[in-house]
């Protein structure tokens, strides 16, 4: 009974050149009675297959932007289009289907289900896509193979190292073959060496699968490895281009 993806008009949209189009994006929250504007008119376009970092100091609005790109939140003004769909015009079930079909999330804290095996963790998004149990398991094993964790399939997160946990989370993110990998501080809870391995994994997935990767981070060394950096300060876009020395 997991909600199946609604009948998106498929190919025409998927062929759409830009994966993400953000224009005039504003997001305002009510803090008590005071409106607080966190995003103040953001415009950018991200084509398919791009490899992008979103950076900025704390409170710059980069997390809020990530939730917008992740279809977990909708704009107060302006538009966010993902694969041609106007995110602001969709209802809860449609947004859920859009996330399920187009986006793989990777979190700083891994966010795996405790006491649940790696393969069942990875298979979880397929459940919400309405895939049958056997097929879910098969595809989950395949995804674990891509992150070189086949030997840990039946381990629960408690028995895995930090790096292994993040690789399980990445397998979970790619198991639905999404167009976009949205990563929130993916190396924040890992030591440098393991963090670098994870970043290399993203680069490989970007190369091999052509999946668009967006990494939200405040780690300059991570930002220097990408081809394009979007920098926010105080809710405004202050830089959009190749990484520069003063990041």
């Amino acid at each position: 009974m997991a909600t199946a993806a609604p009948a998106f008009a498929p190919l025409a949209r998927e062929e759409h050149e830009a994966l993400i189009e953000v224009s005039g994006l504003e997001r305002t929250f009510m803090v008590g009675d005071e409106p607080l504007t966190v995003l103040r008119g953001i415009d950018f376009t991200i084509p398919r297959g791009a490899y992008v970092a979103i950076i900025g100091p704390s409170g710059s609005g980069k997390s809020t932007l990530m939730y917008q790109l992740g279809c977990l939140d909708t704009p107060s003004a302006g538009t966010v289009r993902l694969a041609g769909y106007d995110v602001g015009s969709l209802d809860d079930a449609e947004l859920a289907a859009l996330r399920n079909r187009f986006i793989g999330f990777v979190f700083q804290a891994f966010n795996l289900l405790p006491r649940t095996t790696a393969v069942d963790n990875v298979a979880l998004p397929l459940r919400y896509a309405g895939v049958g149990l056997r097929e879910r398991r098969r595809r989950a094993r395949e995804a674990l193979g891509r992150v070189a964790l086949s030997h840990r399939e039946d381990h629960t997160p408690e028995r895995l190292s930090g790096g292994e946990r993040q690789r399980v989370a990445i397998a979970r993110a790619i198991v639905t073959e999404p167009a976009l990998l949205l990563c929130d501080e993916p190396t924040g809870n890992l030591d440098q060496k393991v963090g670098r391995e994870i970043v290399e994994l993203f680069e490989r997935l970007n190369d091999e699968l052509g999946v668009t990767v967006i990494i939200v981070t405040h780690d300059p060394s991570l930002a220097r490895r990408v081809r394009r950096v979007i920098k926010l300060v105080d809710g405004r876009l202050v830089h959009d281009g190749p990484p520069t020395a003063d990041l």
Binding site: M1, A2, T3, Y67, G70, L72, D73, D92, A93, A96, A97, R99, N100, R101, I103, F105, F107, N111, L113, P114, R115, T116, D120, L124, P125, R127, Y128, A129, L133, R172, T176
Partner: protein
């Protein structure tokens, strides 16, 4: 749906101790419902069986008019004309719908043999009484019609009486003293055991006519008769009233109770008892439900981050709602099944160890107990599940 149930089981087994403790409330609740209702139901079945065993389509005629039907002693008030042997004769002659008619003269008294004595209930009866009441002799013969006509001093005794006075010797043909008369024992009743608290073997039957002499009482306590078949019970009652009214200047001065009336009245009592027990047991089930709701609320709070992650991975509000609702349902129904299993096991054990104890697990109790635990699951799951479903995905993901 199977997916939801499987993942609910997964979530619940991930926290075994908590799940087990949560279920305990429902287990105890369902166990209480099962056991207490079985007691009530068993009592009703026992009373039904006992009252059906005393005869078939019995009708009891009592002197005096009572407007309401029900249990109770002979109607009090103005008894202008008591029941007599002539009424019995009239019913026998004209009661075309009646199977048999027997007078009853109730009395009591000490029965003595040599230096042994027993206080028993003594009934003066007619020849038809034995067949009407399913009480037969297994040695000798019952009171006969000519015993009544000749007012003979003969007696039929129950097993308890026989044993008390004669030990293992045969009482047949012996002479005993009842009150101030000497009676010859002509029959011994087959063993009947106790019924509704009465020892049916502690009885003495003598001819009704002789009893009138003995107790200095020339009217009858009751007349016992029976309709020929079930369909004619109501007509038979009317016929009795008609025959007896004709002998009383057209006045209807008797009350006729049917066996079904007795069963109905006692059935009302046991139903009320069952309902009261069910109400008590329901309280414990309610407490069990509150326990589930409590734990589910805690669980939703603890798993806020998980809810956020599931939403990010593509779960709709509906998916989340179902997930928590089904977890509560699984807790309640598994608890219910366990409670039912324990209850059924206990009842089966009691039934095989003590067959006399009226305890009965009927399918309707099982159905109600399971249905109740299902309802408890829904009721206690709705609030937590809605709370989980209404969480904003971003807030849930940020929850520490």
């Amino acid at each position: 749906m199977l997916d939801h149930i499987l993942s609910a089981l997964q979530a619940l087994t991930a926290n075994k101790v908590r799940s087990a403790l949560t279920m305990l409330g429902v287990i105890i609740g369902v166990l209480a419902v099962t056991l207490l209702v079985s007691v009530g139901d068993g009592a009703r079945a026992y009373i039904d069986k006992t009252l059906s065993g005393i005869g078939t389509n019995l009708l009891i005629v009592q002197p005096g008019r009572r407007e309401t039907r029900g249990l109770g002693g002979p109607p009090t008030g103005n008894i202008s004309r008591p029941l007599t042997m002539d009424d019995v004769t009239a019913l026998k002659r004209q009661g075309t719908l009646l199977r048999d008619v027997s007078p009853i003269v109730a009395g009591g008294g000490a029965i003595r043999f040599e230096n042994r004595q027993r206080d028993s209930t003594v009934f003066g009866v007619g020849a038809g009484f034995g067949d009407l009441r399913n009480m037969h002799v297994d040695v000798g013969s019952f009171i006969r019609e000519e015993d009544l006509t000749a007012r003979r001093r003969v007696a039929v005794v129950g097993r308890t009486v026989a044993k008390a006075l004669f030990g293992n010797d045969s009482p047949l043909g012996r002479t005993v003293r009842i009150s101030d008369g000497r009676f010859r024992i002509v029959g011994i009743l087959e063993k009947k055991g106790t019924s509704l608290g009465f020892d049916l073997d502690d009885l003495v039957f003598i001819p009704a006519t002789t009893a009138s002499d003995l107790f200095h009482q020339d009217f009858l306590s009751q007349i016992l008769t029976a309709a020929r078949n079930k369909a004619e019970v109501q007509q038979a009652i009317l016929q009795i009233e008609e025959i007896l009214a004709r002998r009383r200047n057209g006045e209807n001065e008797v009350t006729v109770q049917s066996q079904d009336d007795l069963i109905g009245v006692l059935g009302t009592v046991t139903s009320a008892m069952t309902a009261a027990l069910l109400a008590i047991a329901s309280v414990s089930l309610l407490v069990g439900g509150i326990g589930i709701m409590n734990i589910m609320l805690v669980s939703v709070r603890e798993r806020t981050r998980e809810i956020g992650v599931r939403r990010a991975l593509g779960a709709t509000r509906h998916d989340i709602l179902l997930q928590f609702l089904i977890e509560a349902l699984v807790l309640a129904t598994v608890g219910g099944l366990i409670g039912l299993g324990i209850g059924g096991g206990l009842i089966a054990a009691v039934n095989s160890a003590a067959p006399d104890v009226p305890l009965k697990l009927s399918p309707w109790i099982a159905t109600i107990a399971f249905g109740a635990s299902f309802a408890v699951g829904i009721a206690s799951g709705v609030v937590p599940a809605r709370r989980a479903a209404e969480l904003d995905p971003v807030d849930a993901l940020r929850y520490e």
